[in-house]
Amino acid sequence: MPVNKVVASFDEAVSDIFDGAVLLIGGFGGPGECPSYLIAAVARKNVRDLTIVANLAGWGLELAADVRERLAPVLPIPPDWYDQGLLVERGQVRKGILSFPAAPGHYLMPFERALLEGKVEVELVPQGTLAERIRAARAGIAAFYTPTGAGTFVAEGKEVREFDGRPYVLERALRGDFSLIRAHKADRYGNLVYRGSSRTFNATMAGASRITIAEVDEVVEVGELDPECVVTPGVYVDRVVVRPREPRPWHEPM
C-alpha cells in the first residue's frame, strides 16, 4: 500500500494529542515560521496541562495584534498568525521549557502573566542548549556536555565536569510527545523543505518527538523535491497537513 502521510484536516492531525502531552512547537518567534494552524487546532481541541517546548513563550492573540500594528511599517504580518501564546492565554499550558519566556521591552507575554499568577512552571534554557537537547532526542543521544551555562544559574543542580581544562554542563535530551512544525513543501513520504529563516527550530524538532506533524504550504508529487535539497527526510515525519489558501480564524474547525 502506498505511503501517504498527508492527512485531510488540522483537527484530524492533532486528534491524538492528550492532556499532559509534551509539545515541541517549531518556529523561532516570528510569523513566517510558526505552525499557526496546528496550534489553533490544539487550542480548539482544548487539551490541558500541556508542556510546551519552544523558543518563545508566544505573543498570544492580543499582543500579536499589537505587534502586528507596531511592525506594519517594517514587516507586514499575515492575519493568521496564531502562536503558542494562544494556548497559554487559554490556560492549556502547565509548563514551559523556553529560551525566551519574557517579552522584550515593556510587553508582558501571556506566559509572564501566568507565571506571576502562579499558573505555570518554567524552565529557562539557553537557546543553543535547547536546540541541542532537541537534536539529541532526535539523534538518540541521552545527554551531552556543553560549555554554555557553566558557573551560572543554568548549571544549578546539574553535573559540571571538566574536559581539557574547561567546565562543561551535562544537559539531557528533550523528547516530545508531539512535534508541531511548519515547513514550505512536502511530499506524501513526509520529505520537507523550508523557506529561508523558517527552517530554524522547525527542522530541529522534526523527528524529536514520538509523532511529528508538519503544517505545509504545499504538497508536491513524490520526486519533485530534489534529494540533494531535502532538509528533513520523511523518516522523521508522521503527518503532513496543508495550510488553507486564504487566512482562516483560529476557532473555526478545519
Binding site: A102, L124, G128, G149
Partner: protein, 223 residues
Amino acid sequence: MAGERLDEQAMALRAVKEFQDGMVVNLGVGIPTLCSLYVPPERDIFFHSENGIIGFGPVVTDPAEADVNLVNASIQPVKPRPGMAIVDHAESFAIIRGGRIDITVLGAIEVSEKGDLANHHLPGKPIGSLGGGMDLAFNAKKVIALMTHTTKDGRPKIVRELTQPLTVPRCVKLIITDIAVIEVTPQGLLLKELVPGWTPEEVQALTDAPLRVAEDLKVMELL
C-alpha cells in the same frame, strides 16, 4: 559641561569599525542589529543569526522589500546577500558553540569590571529571556557589549560588581557606549576612546568601576 552622547546609529557605526573582512559576526537584539546597516556591501563580513542564516545583508528599511521568511534573530526582515547559507537551529548553535563566531555584539543591562555580563533579566520582569546570548557570550571569540553608558535614570551600567542577575561571567572584552570605548583587561577597565567633548573625568563620573586611561587615549572616530 560634557559633550553630546552618541545616538544609536552612531554607536552601531563605532561597533562596525571592529569588523574585519572574513569575520563571522553575530548581532544581538536591539542597537547591535543596526550594525548591519553600516557595512558596505563590498565588505565580506558574514552576519550570522541564531535562527540559522549566515551571510545575510542589511536590515530592510522598506516594508515592500520585507520577506517574512528572511528575518534576523530580532525578527527584523533582512536582505539576502549572495553567498548566503541557511542551516537549522541546532547547526546554527553548532557554529556558535564550535567557536566560529569571531565577534558577537550584545546589548547589556550591566557589565562588571571583570567583564561579567548581565543581559537576560530586565528589572521588574518575573523572569528573564536567555535567547542565544548566553551561548554567544560563552563561546564567541570576542564579546562586545554595545550599550548606553548609563540607565535611563542616569545610573552607571559599568560597575564593580553586578547588581543585576549574572548572565555570563568574565566574557566581555570591549564595551562601546554612547560616550566611550572601554577595554576589559586583566588589570581592570581601560578607557581607550572618548566621544568628542568628553573628558576622562566626566566618563569616570558616570562609571561605577574605576577606569585607567590608556596611554594612547583617542577621540572616537566613526568612519
